[in-house]
C-alpha cells in the first residue's frame, strides 16, 4: 500500500486515462487477517488501475492506494451474522518500487516470457533458448506470450516441482489431484511452491493479503467490478486471458455447434433452431453495440485531442505567438483564445461518477466531483451560477452518462455539509444558484450595484445582467436583494421595472 494524493474535495487525484469504476463507503481494511485500526472506516474507490482507500477521519494522512497490477489472487467471502462480507486480495509486495511495472513490461516483451510453441503447443518457460524445448522449432515472433498465471491455469507447467509425488507409489500426480491416479493413495498437499519467475525479477517476493471489509454492503458489486478491472488490466498488459481468479470457471460454449444438426427432425432440431435464432439475434445486437463502442472510443480520443490543444494553448509560447500575430489587435485575439480555451476546458470529465459506480455514496461523490468541476467556472462568472446553467454545463461535460436533475439538486445541497468550497442558495423567489461564499457575498454585490446606480442612474434587470454578465433571473434576484435591504426602490411603469437609489430612506435618515 502506498500513500495517495487527494484533490481538495478529498477525492483521489486520477492519473490520465484512469477511470473510477466503483465506489463504496464504510469499508475497513485488514492486513493478513488482522483488523487495521488505522484504516477502519473509509471510502474505497476502484479505478481502472488502482484501489484507493480514503479514510473518513484523517483522509489526508491515512489514505492509501494499491496498484491493481500487484494483486495476484482475489476472492470474495460473503458475510454471515456479525461478520461483514470481505474481499481478500493477495498482493505481490514489491521490494523495489518499480518492480511490478518492470515485471509487466518484461512479460510483454517477446524475449523473456513464457511462450507457446506454434507447432506443438508446448508451453516453453522463458525465452532464453529461442526455440521450443520439445520439438526444437525456433520461436516465431507472433507466438503468443503467456503470463505465469496463465500457465498455471492451463496446467502446463510440467516442471517436476509442480507435480505431487505420491508418497506411496511415487507417481508424479497433477497438483489438482486429491488422490493418486495410480494407487488411489492420499496425496499430501504441500503449501503451493513459489514458481520462479524466469526473468528473475519477482524472484523472492513476499506475499501479503489485504482484506476489504464491507460494513455497509456492496461487496458483490464491488467484487464484480474488481474482476472486470483486473481482467481488462491484464488484457491491456499483454496477456491473453484472465488469470488466477480462484472462483471463475472456464467459459464453456455449449450450443452453437453446427455438427449437431445432422439429425433431422425431433425435439432437438426445434431446440437447436430456437438457439440458432437466438444466436443470430445476439450477433446482430453485438454488432450494433460495437458501433456504439466505437463511438465512445472516438469520443475519448477527441477529448484527448482537445486536452492536448488546451495544454498547447496554455503554454507561454502559444500566447506569445498569438500576441505577435499580425492583422488583428492583441486584445481581440487574446479574447478569442480565451474563449476557445473555455470550450476546450468544458469538454469532458474523464471519469464521471455514476449511480452504478458509487452506489450509496452517489450523491456525496457527485457533490465532490461537481465541486471540482464547477469551482473554476463559478469563480470566472463572478461567484454565482444559476443552478440550471450549472446543470447544463455539467451534463455537457459528462458526455454520455447524464445525471438526473433531482440527483443534481440533491448533490448540490450537500456542498456545505461536506465542507466543500461552494454552496447552494435558494433565493426567496425559488431560484436556485450555486455560489462561492467567498466571492459572492451579499455585501459585495450590494456595494457593486450601488456604484452602478451612482454612476449610471436607474437600473433595470436587463442592464444589470449585461453589466454583470450574468443571467437575467440572477440579475433580478440581486436587485430584489438590494431592494429588501432598503438600498434601492422600484419604479413600475409600462416600460418595466426600474430600480432607483432609495431616496425615501436616505431622506428619512437625514432628517
Amino acid at each position: 500500500m502506498e500513500p495517495v494524493e487527494l484533490a481538495p474535495t478529498l477525492r483521489p487525484l486520477l492519473e490520465s486515462g484512469e477511470k473510477i469504476i466503483c465506489i463504496q463507503n464504510k469499508v475497513g481494511l485488514y492486513r493478513d487477517s488482522v483488523r487495521d485500526e488505522e484504516h477502519d472506516n473509509g471510502t474505497v474507490y476502484l479505478t481502472s488501475s488502482r484501489i484507493v482507500y480514503v479514510d473518513q477521519q484523517l483522509p489526508r494522512e491515512r489514505s492509501v492506494a494499491l496498484h491493481l497490477s500487484r494483486v495476484e489472487r482475489w476472492s470474495l467471502h460473503s458475510g454471515f451474522l456479525y461478520t461483514s462480507a470481505k474481499i481478500c486480495l493477495h498482493i505481490r509486495a514489491a521490494s523495489s518500487s518499480n518492480r511490478i511495472q518492470a515485471s509487466l513490461s518484461v512479460a510483454a516483451s517477446p524475449t523473456s516470457a513464457n511462450w507457446k510453441c506454434v507447432i506443438c503447443d508446448y508451453v516453453n518457460r522463458g525465452g532464453g533458448l529461442g526455440k521450443c524445448v520439445l520439438c526444437g522449432v525456433r520461436r516465431q515472433d507472433d507466438s503468443p506470450d503467456l503470463g505465469i498465471d496463465k500457465c498455471r491455469e492451463l496446467n502446463v507447467l510440467n516442471d517436476a516441482e509442480q507435480q505431487i509425488s505420491c508418497p506411496t507409489c511415487t507417481f508424479d500426480n497433477h497438483t489438482s489431484m486429491e488422490r493418486c491416479e495410480m494407487c488411489d493413495g492420499e496425496l499430501r498437499h504441500l503449501p503451493p511452491k513459489q514458481t520462479d519467475d524466469v526473468g528473475g525479477i519477482v524472484q523472492h517476493e513476499q506475499r501479503m493479503a489485504v482484506k476489504l471489509s464491507f460494513r455497509a454492503g456492496g461487496s458483490s458489486l464491488f467484487y464484480a467490478a474488481l474482476k472486470g478491472a483486473l481482467s481488462s488490466l491484464l488484457q491491456d498488459s499483454g496477456s491473453l486471458a484472465t488469470v488466477g481468479d480462484t472462483q471463475s470457471a472456464p467459459v464453456v460454449e455449449v450450443w452453437p455447434h453446427r455438427e449437431r444438426q445432422t439429425t433431422a427432425g425431433g425435439i432437438s432440431t426445434i431446440v437447436s433452431a430456437a438457439h440458432e435464432t437466438g444466436r443470430a439475434r445476439d450477433v446482430r445486437l453485438k454488432s450494433a453495440f460495437l458501433d456504439l463502442d466505437a463511438l465512445t472510443t472516438m469520443a475519448n480520443e477527441i477529448v484527448g485531442m482537445a486536452e492536448h490543444i488546451a495544454t498547447q494553448l496554455n503554454s507561454p509560447a502559444a500566447s506569445k505567438l498569438h500576441k505577435t500575430g499580425g492583422g488583428e489587435s492583441d486584445e481581440d485575439s487574446a479574447a478569442r483564445v480565451d474563449a476557445f480555451r473555455q470550450y476546450v476546458l468544458d469538454l469532458g470529465i474523464e471519469s464521471p461518477v455514476t449511480k452504478d459506480t458509487a452506489g450509496a455514496v452517489f450523491h456525496e461523490e457527485l457533490a465532490r466531483e461537481l465541486c471540482d468541476y464547477l469551482e473554476n467556472y463559478v469563480s470566472q462568472s463572478g461567484g454565482t451560477v444559476a443552478l440550471v446553467d450549472a446543470y447544463c454545463l455539467y451534463n455537457r461535460a459528462r458526455e454520455f452518462t447524464l445525471v438526473y436533475p433531482s440527483d443534481f439538486v440533491q448533490a448540490c445541497g450537500m456542498f456545505e455539509k461536506l465542507g466543500l468550497g461552494l454552496r447552494l442558495r435558494e433565493y426567496p423567489s425559488g431560484l436556485l444558484a450555486i455560489e462561492d461564499p467567498g466571492s459572492a457575498s451579499d455585501a459585495l454585490i450590494a456595494s457593486r450595484i450601488d456604484s452602478y446606480v451612482q454612476s449610471f442612474g436607474p437600473l433595470t434587470a436587463n442592464g444589470l445582467a449585461a453589466m454583470d454578465d450574468c443571467p437575467l433571473t440572477l440579475a433580478e434576484e440581486r436587485l430584489w436583494l438590494c431592494e429588501r435591504n432598503g438600498q434601492l426602490c422600484r419604479d413600475e411603469s409600462i416600460e418595466g421595472v426600474r430600480f432607483y437609489s432609495n431616496i425615501f430612506v436616505q431622506a428619512n435618515n437625514n432628517k
Binding site: 436607474p458 431592494e483 429588501r484 432598503g486 426602490c489 422600484r490 419604479d491 413600475e492 411603469s493 426600474r498 432607483y500 432609495n502 431616496i503 425615501f504 430612506v505 431622506a507 428619512n508
Partner: protein, 187 residues
C-alpha cells in the same frame, strides 16, 4: 418635507413628486412606511392649499397630485386607498358613503377638534355666545368671510360642532333640513 407656498394660486410640489418610484407602492416595508408618510403630508398640504375635503378615490387617482403628467406616472387606486387608510388611522380623514366600499373619503387637513376650537374662539370673540346661528351662516355668512372656516363643507362643520356640543360648549338645534340646522354657543 412638504413646503407649501402661501402665495395663492399654484401649489408647489415637493421635490419627491418628480421621483418616479414615488408613484409605485414599494414592496420593502420600511421604504413603504416612509413613502406613505410622504404621501400623507403631500395630501394634507395639497388639500389645505386648495381648501378641498371630499375625495372620490377613483377620480382623484387620475388627477393631480396623484398623477404627474411630466414624468408620466400616476398612483394606483389600491395604493391610494392604502395611503388614505393611514390618514384615517391618524385621524386626518374618514371614509364616507357605504361602510365597506372605501370609495370616497373626507380629508381633514385640519382636524375637527381644531376647527371646533377655532369656531368657539371666534364666537366668543364676537360676543355671539347664547345666540342662535344657522350652520349656513357660519359657513357662508358675511360675518365669517375672513375666517378660515368660511366655506368649510357642511359635514366637517357639523362634525366640529358635534364635538363642541359633546364638550358642553354649544347646543345644536334640528331644523327641517340640514341647512336649517341651528347652533347656540355657550361661553
Amino acid at each position: 418635507m412638504t413646503s407649501v407656498s402661501e402665495t395663492v394660486t399654484t401649489f408647489e410640489f415637493p421635490e419627491i413628486h418628480n421621483f418616479p418610484p414615488f408613484f409605485t407602492r414599494q414592496p420593502n416595508e420600511d421604504t413603504w412606511k416612509v413613502q406613505r408618510q410622504l404621501w400623507c403630508d403631500l395630501i394634507l398640504a395639497f388639500y389645505k392649499h386648495n381648501r378641498l375635503s371630499l375625495m372620490p378615490l377613483a377620480e382623484a387617482a387620475t388627477e393631480s397630485p396623484f398623477s404627474n403628467r411630466q414624468i408620466h406616472r400616476s398612483l394606483q387606486v389600491d395604493t391610494l386607498r392604502e395611503i388614505i387608510e393611514e390618514l384615517v388611522r391618524q385621524g386626518h380623514a374618514v371614509w364616507t358613503g357605504p361602510k365597506n366600499a372605501k370609495d370616497t373619503c373626507m380629508v381633514y387637513w385640519r382636524k375637527p377638534e381644531v376647527w371646533a376650537n377655532i369656531i368657539h374662539m371666534w364666537a366668543c370673540e364676537h360676543s355671539l355666545c347664547n345666540t342662535v346661528l344657522t350652520l349656513y351662516e357660519l359657513a357662508n355668512g358675511d360675518d365669517t368671510v375672513k375666517q378660515e372656516f368660511h366655506g368649510l363643507d357642511l359635514s366637517t362643520l357639523r362634525r366640529s360642532l358635534e364635538i363642541l356640543q359633546s364638550q358642553g360648549k354649544a347646543q345644536m338645534f334640528a331644523g327641517t333640513s340640514d341647512d336649517d340646522m341651528g347652533i347656540k354657543f355657550f361661553s
